[in-house]
């Protein structure tokens, strides 16, 4: 089992142990989930990004896991998905074809991304015995009827989870799960605060391991490790001369680690991000009192105020304004946009970001990421140049 590592007695060793555990789960999420199912006898339910809360599935006694892209090249999946779909969709289809999801007790779909909708149908076709609980969340979150519609969606999901398990899910159970998830999110936000303040040295990859493992692991186990981690992180502040950068984008799935590692290798340090496998995932909490359906609905409809999402229609909020404010707040010297190739919402909104940053004179670098191999040497040159520009801009 992935968590059966030895425990170090000294603080630095323990810090490494915890990070190594998060890294191991992040690297092999399905292995962790299979082990968990075998050891606990509980159900495992797959969730699709980016807006479906795991709390209801947790309250139903299952382990909710956010399904991840894996590192395998897309092979057998080529026969079911076009190569002009994003790497996440292609990888998910490929994993489904390889039988990786056969152990799941159910899959929850809830997004309106047109590519994900296609993936949903392919999975339904290839995993006919896996229940798919499809409840599409309204994407027009400032519509007059958005609250009523969202409440209806969560009520329907609640009923379907009860049907799946054959047991009633009480309000108290959901509130209890919400509390567990909130605690986990709060701890990760605390780590983000520490990183933003320059008090700790966590690489982009390490932060990804923390968040990605949170999407997979039993939340209480993860939280216990986070509590230890927070207490031990203070010891290692980052180097003073590194260029401070903000990472943005990469919706739905985790960026490749070698791309993140380039930041530090080229003399930068990540001080903040709005990545989905990053701050976006833990930015908003759910109220722990009152009706859970109402609380989850408010969470869904209001989390855009924490970090605007280009997949949601919201007249008032603009991603570029948010990013400019966050770059200011975090003291970042530049912005790196990680855009998944073929990610339509990001392609639509990127020019807004680009122009806003050009107007403000803040350096930014756009990197288009692909599921398959990337030209890392060329990317390294671009990264070095960008960091040099950012450094000089500050000095000027």
């Amino acid at each position: 089992m992935l968590l059966d590592s030895t425990v170090s007695a000294n603080p630095e060793g323990r810090l490494k142990d915890i990070l190594a555990k998060f890294e191991a789960v992040a690297a092999n999420p399905l292995e962790y989930a299979r082990d968990f199912k075998r050891d606990s006898g509980k159900r495992v339910i797959g969730l699709f990004p980016m807006h479906f809360p795991g709390e209801l599935a947790h309250a139903a006694g299952a382990l909710p896991i956010v399904l991840q892209a894996d590192d395998e090249p897309v092979t057998i999946g080529q026969g079911s998905v076009f190569n002009f779909y994003c790497g996440y969709n292609r990888s998910i289809v490929d994993q489904a074809m390889r039988g990786e999801f056969a152990f799941l007790d159910a899959i929850l779909f809830g997004d309106h991304c047109v590519q994900l909708l296609g993936t949903a149908d392919i999975i339904r076709d290839h995993l006919p015995d896996t229940p798919i609980l499809f409840n599409q969340l309204i994407s027009i979150i400032d519509a007059e009827w958005a609250m009523e519609e969202t409440q209806g969606t969560f009520r329907q999901l609640w009923r379907e989870l009860e049907d799946l398990t054959g047991e009633k899910i009480s309000d108290d159970q959901v509130r209890h799960s919400i509390g567990i998830f909130n605690r986990n999110r709060a701890l990760i936000r605390q780590i983000y605060d520490m990183r933003r303040a320059g008090r700790i040295a966590l690489t982009g990859s390490q932060m990804q391991h923390i968040v990605k493992s949170s999407m997979i692991m039993d939340k209480e186990t993860h939280t216990a490790l986070l509590e230890e981690l927070v207490a031990k992180l203070e010891a290692a502040p980052p180097a003073n001369n590194a260029v401070r950068v903000y990472l943005s984008g990469h919706l739905c799935h985790a960026a490749k680690l070698p791309i993140l590692d380039l930041v530090e290798e080229c003399g930068g340090v990540v001080v903040d991000d709005d990545l989905y496998t990053g701050y976006r995932y833990i930015a908003a909490d759910v109220e722990e009192t009152g009706s859970p359906v109402d609380a989850l609905s408010r969470w869904y409809l209001e989390k855009n105020k924490k970090i605007p999402c280009p997949t949601r229609a919201d007249k008032d909020l603009d991603w570029e304004d948010f990013l400019l404010a966050q770059v200011d707040k975090s003291g970042a010297q530049g912005l790196i946009v990680l855009m998944v190739k073929f990610c339509e919402p990001h392609m639509y909104f990127y020019p807004e970001i680009k122009e806003a940053f050009e107007r403000r004179g803040i350096p930014h670098l756009m990197i288009e990421t692909e599921h398959e191999e990337m030209p890392m040497e060329a990317l390294k040159t671009r990264m070095e140049t960008f960091l040099e520009i950012a450094k000089r801009r500050v000095a000027a």
């Binding site: 026969g79 079911s80 998905v81 076009f82 002009f84 779909y85 309106h112 991304c113 047109v114 590519q115 909708l117 296609g118 949903a120 149908d121 392919i122 339904r124 076709d125 798919i132 609980l133 499809f134 599409q136 309204i138 994407s139 027009i140 519509a143 007059e144 009827w145 519609e149 280009p310 997949t311 229609a313 007249k315 603009d318 190739k341 073929f342 339509e344 919402p345 392609m347 639509y348 909104f349 990127y350 020019p351 807004e352 680009k354 122009e355």
Partner: protein, 458 residues
């Protein structure tokens, strides 16, 4: 969705025909040429709308113009405008303008054309110039497109379509009021689900209808006039008649040889998609139906020597309508039906109750062919294929229209299980650079040979 594009007339020399096959060309319905005049009249009326004091709605998505027509506001369909520019060879400057701002060419090419053109228009407004030479053939057209007073988005299924108008709204400085309608996917996962049946169907019908009524409030708010639902019923009476005639005429094409082809229906979509609901569209489809009946009586087909009957799946390649019509004719294949033409655009007109049309309109919007989960959608495709005695499927993998490419592998698999051939070809809705002619030639030849072998074996 679409607008018309010029088809090559039989024997005409207007557009170079592909050098392919036996050289035969499509036998286009003569009525559709007259249909082109209705489309041109629509654009001419639109270009005058501001002078006539009308408010202008820019909209994208499903066929909601009857709501605008009934309220005497003019409407611009973004997809149709993009296709109109393409038909006038004006799409490239718009797409280049968009790309220069950073819009990736993997984005919906309708959107890139529309957004790019809006960028050109905005620059024109800022500079007081068009930014192109006055003798450029595009100049007059571009000068005339009225700017929006309102933006309405009503896209079934496609998230990209919704995001497109989110950007249009921002391009105009967030000063133009926008209204977005949610038309959710009919997933069809509940036990009672079926085509136009089940709890989900009932719930979603009411949900969309409610939003359409809210849209009329939005129109009232931004025009200062009360919405007239009686007028909507009147407009819909024409649309319903036209749609019924269209479906009847399509059904007549079950005859052998098929008297009209998918490409005839393609150039007749504007009439049920965004043209005004008047007697003119009723007359048009009466004429189309009459010509089809006459062709059946005379034994005349849409392809001179029909040997094979095909189904076209996917979005149309608007740069290549005439080209493709001739290409299939050149191998004696009639593309008899398609998902885009036969499973959309008021294809269930009987749902519209003229006394209270909103619910039936909502239901027709919901059954956009993309907007079903694959099992129900494929069931409907198979029903159409059976009706028209289809031998093979032509799958257009339109590069930037994922709404139509989703499920195409499942559709092809299903066709093969039913004993139908299936082939793919690459292209796009409004970006010609994705079209690879030689690939289509090779694959089409291979499919035709297989069909021929099957016929011989039988």
């Amino acid at each position: 969705m679409q607008m018309t594009s010029e088809m090559t007339p039989p024997g005409g020399a207007k557009v170079a025909s592909p050098v392919f096959g036996n050289g035969m060309r499509a036998n286009r319905l003569s009525t559709t040429k007259r249909g082109g005049k209705l489309v041109n009249d629509y654009w001419a009326d639109l270009f005058r709308a501001k002078e006539e004091g009308k408010k202008i709605v820019w909209y994208n998505g499903t066929y909601i113009p009857p709501f605008f027509h009934a309220h005497d506001v003019a409407w611009v369909h973004g997809e149709a405008w993009a296709a109109y520019l393409a038909a006038k060879h004006g799409e490239m400057p718009a797409q280049q303008k968009g790309e220069a701002r950073g819009y990736d060419r993997e984005l919906c090419s309708y959107a890139r054309t529309h957004i790019g053109q809006a960028l050109i228009d905005l620059e024109k407004l800022k500079n007081g110039t068009l930014g192109i030479d006055d003798d450029d053939p595009r100049a007059e057209t571009m000068r005339k497109l009225p700017a929006p007073d309102m933006i309405i988005n009503a896209y079934p299924y496609c998230s990209s379509g919704q995001q497109w108008d989110d950007i249009t709204y921002r391009l105009f400085g967030k000063k133009i009021p926008i209204f977005t309608i949610s038309i959710p996917l009919l997933w069809g996962g509940r036990p009672d689900a079926g085509y136009m049946q089940g709890e989900e169907w009932q719930q979603r019908s009411q949900y969309v209808a409610k939003q359409l009524v809210a849209m009329t409030k939005f129109l009232e708010e931004h025009t200062g006039r009360k919405y007239d639902f009686d007028r909507l019923s009147e407009v819909m009476s024409y649309v319903k008649k036209a749609a019924t005639l269209r479906m009847e005429a399509m059904d007549l094409c079950a005859a052998t040889p098929a008297p009209a082809s998918f490409f005839d229906w393609i150039v007749s979509i504007a009439h049920v998609n965004f043209l005004p609901g008047t007697q003119a569209i009723v007359d048009y489809f009466e004429d189309v139906k009459a010509e089809i009946q006459q062709r059946i009586a005379d034994g005349v087909g849409a392809v001179p020597n029909e040997k094979y009957r095909l189904f076209f799946d996917g979005m149309m390649n608007w740069n290549k309508v005439g080209w493709l019509a001739d290409k299939f004719a050149a191998v004696d294949a009639t593309v008899v039906a398609g998902r885009y033409t036969h499973m959309s655009f008021w294809q269930e007109p009987q749902l519209v109750d003229l006394k209270n049309p909103v619910l039936g309109m909502a239901q027709n919007y919901l059954i956009c062919p993309n907007n079903h989960g694959a099992p129900i959608m494929i069931g409907e495709i198979e029903r159409v294929c059976d009706k028209f005695n289809i031998d093979g499927m032509v799958m257009h993998a339109s590069r930037t229209c994922r709404g139509m490419t989703n499920s195409q592998f499942l559709i092809a698999d299903s066709a093969k299980k039913k004993g139908r051939q299936a082939m793919f070809f690459e292209g796009d809705v409004a970006d010609e650079s994705f079209y690879k002619d030689e690939l289509l030639n090779t694959r089409l030849e291979a499919m035709i040979e297989t069909l021929e072998a099957k016929k011989r074996a039988a």
